[in-house]
C-alpha cells in the first residue's frame, strides 16, 4: 500500500482570502508581483520545501503532498478516514486536530513531528522509519 505523507504548510505561509473577488490575497495575483512586507517566515517555508523535494527524490514510491493548514476541506476527512480504521474514532478526532498544526509531518494521517524540530534529515529519517523502508 502506498505510504501517504502530508507536509502541512507553516501557519505564516498564509494565502488567506475568501470568496469571489476576494480570494487568494497574495502578491502578484495579476502580474509579476512584488514583495509585500516582511518575509521573516521564508526560512520555515524553505524548510518544508526542502523536506518535500528530498522525500520526492529519495522515496519516489511514497505519495507526498504539501497542504495548507487552512485546507480543512481536505485535511479533516482524509486524516479522519486514514486513522479511524487503525486506531478508532477518538484517536482519529485527536489526529484531525493535530493535523492542522502548521509545519506538521503526517504519515498515513498520523502526526509524527514538526518540520522545524525534525529538520530536513529528521523528516526523511522519520518517514523512512514509519514507512519501514530500508535506509539508503
Amino acid at each position: 500500500m502506498t505510504v501517504r505523507v502530508v507536509l502541512v504548510r507553516p501557519w505564516t505561509d498564509a494565502h488567506g482570502g475568501t470568496g469571489c473577488c476576494g480570494g487568494d490575497a497574495r502578491d502578484g495575483i495579476c502580474f509579476e508581483g512584488r514583495v509585500d512586507g516582511p518575509r521573516e517566515h521564508d526560512a520555515e517555508v524553505n524548510l518544508v520545501a526542502e523536506a518535500y523535494l528530498r522525500l520526492r527524490r529519495e522515496m519516489p514510491e511514497i505519495d507526498v503532498q504539501i497542504v495548507g493548514a487552512d485546507n480543512t476541506a481536505y485535511l479533516l476527512p482524509s486524516v479522519f478516514r486514514a486513522v479511524r480504521g487503525r486506531r478508532g474514532t477518538l484517536a482519529a478526532l485527536r489526529e484531525v486536530n493535530r493535523a492542522t498544526t502548521g509545519g506538521s509531518v503526517l504519515v498515513d494521517g498520523e502526526r509524527v513531528g514538526d518540520v522545524t524540530e525534525l529538520g530536513t534529515d529528521g523528516v526523511v529519517r522519520e518517514v523512512r522509519r514509519r514507512a519501514a523502508l530500508p535506509t539508503g
Binding site: A14, T18, C21, D27
Partner: protein, 581 residues
C-alpha cells in the same frame, strides 16, 4: 413548489453538466493530456509550484472562490422571478462559468502557470495588460464600495450583529498569535472562535449597537455612512497586517461558518419543506430595468465570475499534478459557486416569507428589491435555521453574522488586492513614489471606493444596489470576457472548436455593453448631480473599456495568438518571464 425539490433538480443538472459537458471540453476543446508535464512538475520548488492531489487543490480553490458575492446578485435578481434567475445561474454555470474557470486553468497550465493578465499580454496584445489592470481596478473599487454598504446596511438593520462581528477581530488576532507563538493546532482554537462568535450573538442581541445618535451628533445624516467610514478605516489598517495575523484566522473561522451555513440552508429547507412563494416570472412594474440585459449583469458572479480566472491561473495552476485534474478542480469550482447562488435564490424566494403577498411587499419595485436583497437572504436563512429549532430572532442574527463575516473578509482582501493593483498601475505609469509607498497606495485603494460608497442620492437604499452593484457586475463580466478571449484564441490556434468559449464570450459582451449603454442614457437624464456627474462618467469609462475589449477580442480572434505554439498547445519561446514569488 418545495424549495428542496428545486435544489435537487439544480443539483442533478450541475452533475450532468460536469459528467458530460466538462468531459467534452476536456477531450475535444482543451485536449487535456494526462502525460503532459504540468508546470508544478516542471518548476517544482516545494513552495509555489507543487504537484498536488486534486482534492487538496480543490479544497484550496473552492475556499478561495466561494464567498458573499454570489449571494448578493441572485437575491436581487429574483425581482424578475425565480425562473429566469435560476435558469441563468444553471445555464451560466454549466455553459459559461465552467468553460471560463476550467479554460483559464487549462490555458495557464499550457503557459507555464502564468497569470491570466500576463497570458492576455502574450496572446492578445501588449495593450491587453493595461486593459486588464484597469478593469480589475474598477472591479475592486466597486466590490469594496458595495460590500461596505452591504455591511453598513446589515449593521443598521441588525444592531445585534455588531458586537459579534467587531469582537471577532480581536478573537481572530488572538487565535492567530496563539497558533503562531505556541505552534499549536488550528482546528480547536478556530472552533472555539466559532463558538465564541455564536455566544456573542446572544450578547449582541442583549446589547444592540446603534450608531444613529453618534452619527447625528457629528452631522452624518445616515448612520450607514458612519459604518462605511469606520469599515474603510479598519480595512486600511487590516490590509497592512501580514495575512497570517488576521486574515487567515478569520478565514479559518469563516470556513467553518461556510459549511455550517450550507448545512443550515440544506437541512432547514428539507425539514421545513418551505414552498417557493415568489412568482416564476414576475410581472415587474413599468419603468423597471428590463430582464435583458440587466438580469445577467445583476446575477454576475452567481452565474460566471471573471475573478475566478485570477485564482485559477494565479495559484491553482501551479499546483495541478496531472493536466486532466484541471477538469475536476476548474469546472467543480464553478459548480460550487453556482450552488451557493442557488441557495441565495431559494432563501430569497422560499425562506424569507410564507405567502405571495408578503413576497410582493419585499419586491414591489427594483429600488426596494435591490436595497433589501441581502436582508431578504439573511431573513430567509434565518427561517431555515428556525426550522431546525433555533429561535427566529437569534437565527436571523446568526445569518447576518455569517453574511457580514464573509463580506468583511472579502473587503479585507479586496482592499489589499486593490493596493497591489494601484501599485501595478503606478509602476506602469511611471509614478514610482506611489508604486513603492505602501501607505500611499493603500490610501488610494481605500479613498476611491469610500467616495463611491458615499455618493449622495438614490433614496434610502442609496445608489449601491440599484446602480453600483450593476456596474460591479459589468466589470466582473468584462474580466470574464477577457479570460474567455484568451481561452478562445488559444483554442482556435490549436485548431479546435472555439465555440464553447466564443458563444459565452459574445453573450457576455453583448449583455454588458447593452447594459452600460442603456444605463449611461438613464444617468445623463438623472435628476441628481451624482447621476449626471459621477455615475454617468463612471459608466462611460467602463463602456469604453468594454468597447476596447471587444476590439481586442475581435482582432485577436481574427489574427490569432501572438505566441507561437508547438503541436501540443504549449507556447514556444523562452520562459524567463514565468511568474514566481
Amino acid at each position: 413548489m418545495p424549495a428542496i425539490a428545486v435544489a435537487v433538480v439544480v443539483g442533478v443538472l450541475f452533475f450532468l453538466g460536469y459528467r458530460y459537458y466538462s468531459a467534452y471540453l476536456a477531450e475535444k476543446v482543451y485536449a487535456l493530456d494526462a502525460a503532459f508535464v504540468t508546470p508544478a512538475h516542471q518548476f517544482n520548488d516545494g513552495i509555489d509550484f507543487v504537484p498536488t492531489n486534486k482534492h487538496v487543490v480543490f479544497g484550496h480553490h473552492f475556499t478561495s472562490v466561494a464567498g458573499a458575492a454570489p449571494i448578493v446578485g441572485p437575491a436581487i435578481a429574483v425581482f424578475w422571478g425565480w425562473g429566469p434567475a435560476l435558469a441563468w445561474i444553471v445555464l451560466g454555470t454549466i455553459f459559461a462559468a465552467g468553460v471560463h474557470d476550467f479554460g483559464s486553468l487549462a490555458v495557464s497550465l499550457r503557459h507555464r502557470a502564468k497569470n491570466i493578465g500576463t497570458i492576455a499580454h502574450d496572446v492578445i496584445s501588449k495593450r491587453a495588460r493595461t486593459l486588464f489592470l484597469l478593469i480589475i481596478f474598477f472591479l475592486l473599487t466597486l466590490v469594496n464600495a458595495v460590500f461596505a454598504v452591504v455591511i453598513g446596511n446589515l449593521f443598521v438593520a441588525n444592531p445585534g450583529a455588531v458586537i459579534p462581528i467587531v469582537v471577532e477581530i480581536p478573537i481572530a488576532i488572538f487565535i492567530g498569535q496563539y497558533i503562531y507563538k505556541t505552534r499549536s493546532a488550528a482546528l480547536v482554537p478556530s472552533l472555539v472562535g466559532v463558538v465564541l462568535l455564536y455566544a456573542l450573538i446572544w450578547v449582541g442581541q442583549q446589547y444592540p449597537v446603534d450608531l444613529a445618535p453618534l452619527a447625528s451628533a457629528i452631522g452624518i445624516e445616515n448612520p450607514r455612512n458612519l459604518w462605511v467610514i469606520l469599515l474603510f478605516a479598519y480595512t486600511f489598517v487590516a490590509s497592512r497586517l501580514p495575512v497570517w495575523m488576521l486574515l487567515q484566522p478569520r478565514d479559518y473561522i469563516n470556513s467553518h461558518q461556510l459549511f455550517i451555513a450550507l448545512g443550515v440552508i440544506g437541512l432547514g429547507m428539507l425539514v421545513g419543506w418551505n414552498e417557493i412563494v415568489a412568482p416564476v416570472v414576475n410581472d415587474v412594474p413599468e419603468g423597471s430595468p428590463s430582464i435583458f440585459p440587466f438580469l445577467f449583469i445583476t446575477i454576475a458572479c452567481g452565474a460566471i465570475s471573471g475573478f475566478h480566472s485570477l485564482v485559477s491561473s494565479g495559484t491553482t495552476a501551479k499546483q495541478i499534478d496531472k493536466e486532466t485534474d484541471a477538469r475536476y478542480v476548474g469546472y467543480m469550482g464553478a459548480v460550487g459557486e453556482g450552488s451557493l447562488a442557488t441557495g441565495a435564490v431559494l432563501a430569497a424566494t422560499a425562506g424569507v416569507v410564507a405567502t405571495r403577498g408578503e413576497w410582493d411587499a419585499l419586491y414591489p419595485d427594483f429600488a426596494t428589491a435591490s436595497g433589501g436583497a441581502v436582508g431578504n437572504f439573511v431573513n430567509g436563512v434565518g427561517v431555515f435555521a428556525n426550522n431546525l429549532g433555533v429561535p427566529l430572532d437569534l437565527a436571523v442574527i446568526f445569518a447576518a453574522v455569517v453574511v457580514i463575516s464573509f463580506a468583511a473578509t472579502t473587503m479585507d482582501t479586496g482592499v489589499r488586492l486593490q493596493r497591489y493593483i494601484v501599485q501595478e498601475i503606478a509602476e506602469l505609469a511611471g509614478w514610482h513614489k506611489l508604486a513603492r509607498n505602501l501607505s500611499l497606495a493603500g490610501l488610494v485603494a481605500v479613498a476611491v471606493p469610500l467616495a463611491m460608497a458615499l455618493i449622495p442620492g438614490g433614496g434610502d437604499a442609496g445608489y449601491t444596489f440599484g446602480v453600483l452593484w450593476r456596474l460591479f457586475g459589468t466589470t466582473n463580466q468584462l474580466t470574464a470576457g477577457l479570460a474567455l478571449t484568451v481561452v478562445a484564441v488559444w483554442v482556435l490556434r490549436m485548431k479546435r472548436n472555439p465555440l464553447p468559449a466564443v458563444i459565452p464570450l459574445v453573450f457576455l459582451l453583448a449583455m454588458t455593453t447593452w447594459a452600460l449603454f442603456s444605463q449611461f442614457w438613464d444617468f445623463t437624464q438623472g435628476e441628481s448631480w451624482s447621476e449626471r456627474w459621477v455615475l454617468a462618467p463612471l459608466d462611460a469609462v467602463i463602456f469604453i473599456l468594454a468597447v476596447w475589449l471587444i476590439v481586442e477580442a475581435v482582432g485577436a480572434l481574427r489574427r490569432g495568438s501572438r505566441r507561437e505554439y508547438d503541436e501540443s498547445g504549449s507556447p514556444l519561446g523562452d520562459d524567463r518571464d514565468v511568474t514566481t514569488r
